[in-house]
Symmetry: C2
Subunit: 417 residues, 2 copies
């Protein structure tokens, strides 16, 4: 057989350490996040210091990391991207950024850090030297790390494996799928074990009823198309901002820490009086992905005051602006969690909870050009009853966004290089 | 954009016609199957006539078709494999074989027929000529047909897309995933619409409780390993039989219709007195994939008489023999549904319904070397609560079977050419 003991052990250790690392981090970040003692000026100072630190310490830890991971899988060699420096920079950066209240996802950072673990293990540990010295095997192991990272940030092993596969730019060697799966299994075992600890909250699952096929399907098609439009708009505006910043040569815009301060000041001032913008992303999902009325669920009252539709609409517009502006910052960032929240609220604007699930899937799917998001959403909500609406919405969104824009990963990558 | 109207329409029509074709066929086959008026001699005569008919009419409709589909995707040109003759041969063959009570799956046949529809549409209809004349595009369309076929035979759109992707031998061009998804969506819409008709029974879904992680996980690992062993044994025995038949040069074994008669006689005689072997595969799944005691569910009494464990064990052994012998026949056949039944009963031998689900996934996954089966199983049972046990079992089964044998598709293909 082609299964070496060292490869097997490598994948298991990689999966377990990814789960461990992520759970500890997620837990500590959530703990700090709930203590809302950070004042506006503190925030700006903090983020600026981190930004300066990153500038000199490791520029590789800026940004979403997923575009760079995509480049690594495509065979581009980015020398310092998978270094220990990048790991530490990312860890510090993402923690501070979340405490600072930015609208960003930790998902890309998790995946990046798993990639660093994989890379460093294969180089530094003698037992795994056969992996470090084999180019093909190294790429496979990094792909497995992406799968494990995705698995742990969303609790979705299959979604992770298939996402890692979709991220591989053009051609995927199918024979490696099991490596991702093995690594993910080690990750999900560790992850499940950790969830038994008393201080870790298990994710909340949904309780949608069985979906029966009816005329509503037309609305899912419309929602899918609208999500694709919104996704295209998002990428268009992001491109414009990055392009303009480079072209205007205005020192206020170009200087890294000035730009950082402006954006954070802007976000914080708007966010301050609006309570529905204070929730962590997971809580937004819990409110939106729900078969009940919003006013009936926990934290739901905040959303229906003064008027549910108005609050949802304002949330959508502001979230859109926040995500775009956070993405232009020289800080670690990501789009997974905020984009899902945005999509969920956007869908919920239409009608009940089913639309929130479909909206979240469609927006993320059309922005990133991945279909694995549907499997991730099934695994996050713990239900597959919404299969038919999700499939229909996603395929409409995917096909129409295919004709509109590139994937956000490709766009960001193009600007970096 | 790279989305042509004709491609779009092609995929939608392909998906819809696949769903239509399959549902009609499935329905009519189930209707004939329930009328058990067919006697033993009738059966043998019938199958022999069909076998002779196939021999002269279309040899391409023999076998499981999935290996050949794999070859087509890999770029091998099999001139008559996607002809209308093969379609009709398959249609007649599979219907008769099922009425004849053979242990075979219709899944491969469905996929084959979708492939024929795709191929013929791209050649014969002028509007789609750009697809017929473009080699790459034709392969993509056939891959989409496989996805739609899988989707409709199991009701699993995502499983279908990912299965089509796994079947692609070595490298998969990721940019084509959305074509499969679009085609599958058209298929699932048609499929869901048809399920609204009064005479079509909706599939039964399971009601497992939330799985909490505990020490049981060790048993899932053991089950996964045992399934891989059983899968390897299955492929080993199948290889031996095919090899011996070719080597012995015994006219009784080599002659197509004599061999066919012997096998059918053998299966029918054993099957006759044992009531638990008379159920269609779907009903076996309904009994096994269940959170209740077997004796409590519909049709469950048959299984616990005289003794549950004994019946399950006998079923396993006989089913194993039946599947192997059916695969050697020169008739259309397949392994999906019988293999799932076998795995479910094998898992149920251990303990409750969770083990049946894990067992079915592991056996099929290790025999065919695919992981998409897990997603198909989630979509078939309508639940994703068993995520952790299924992932763990499947990855153990997959990794250990990787070291033991080749995929059954590759084995069968090697014998054909």
């Amino acid at each position: 057989g082609n299964l070496k003991v060292s490869n097997f052990m490598f994948l298991v250790i990689l999966g377990a350490s990814t789960a461990l690392q992520q759970l500890i981090q997620q837990f500590s970040q959530e703990q700090t996040c709930t203590q809302r003692y950070v004042q506006l000026l503190d925030k700006i100072c903090m983020l600026d210091i981190v930004q300066l630190h990153l500038e000199y310490y490791s520029r590789d830890s800026e940004g979403s990391s997923l575009p760079e991971m995509k480049a690594v899988l495509a065979g581009v060699h980015i020398s310092t991207f998978l270094s220990i420096r990048a790991f530490i920079g990312k860890l510090v950066g993402v923690t501070v950024a979340i405490v600072g209240g930015l609208s960003l996802g930790r998902y890309g950072s998790f995946v990046h850090m798993s990639g660093v673990i994989a890379h460093q293990m294969s180089y530094r540990i003698k037992f795994f030297q056969n992996i470090g010295s084999n180019y093909q095997l190294r790429l496979q192991v990094i792909s497995a790390a992406i799968a494990a990272g995705t698995c742990c940030s969303a609790g979705s092993p299959f979604g992770g494996v298939i996402f890692a596969l979709e991220l591989t730019s053009t051609y995927y060697m199918m024979g490696n799928m099991w490596k991702g799966l093995l690594c993910t299994t080690a990750a999900i075992i560790t992850y499940s074990l950790m969830h038994q600890l008393p201080f870790v909250k298990p994710p909340k699952l949904t309780d949608f009823e069985e979906y029966t096929f009816n005329h509503e399907i037309i609305f899912f098609i419309i929602l899918g198309y609208l999500c694709a439009r919104v996704g295209a708009l998002f990428i268009h505006i992001l491109t414009k901002i990055i392009f303009l910043r480079g072209k205007l040569k205005n020192p206020l815009l170009l200087n890294r820490w000035k730009w950082c301060s402006i954006v954070i000041l802007f976000i914080s001032i708007i966010q301050f009086p609006l309570r529905f913008l204070h929730f962590p992303e997971r809580q937004v999902w819990n409110v939106m992905f729900n078969s009940h009325q919003i006013s009936e669920v926990q934290n739901g009252q905040v959303w229906s005051n003064p008027n549910l539709e108005l609050v949802l609409l304002v949330y959508c517009i502001l979230k859109f602006i926040f995500i775009v502006s956070s993405l232009t910052l020289p800080l670690p960032n990501g789009i997974f969690a905020p984009m899902i929240s945005f999509g969920a609220v956007f869908g919920r604007l239409f009608d009940e909870g089913i639309y929130a699930v479909v909206g979240a899937t469609c927006v993320y799917g059309s922005v990133t050009k991945t279909v694995s998001i549907a499997i991730i959403i099934f695994e996050v909500t713990g239900q597959i009853t919404l299969l038919v609406p999700v499939v229909i919405g996603l395929s409409v969104a995917y096909a129409s966004s295919q004709a509109m824009t590139m994937s956000i990963f490709d766009v960001l990558l193009e600007f970096k290089n």
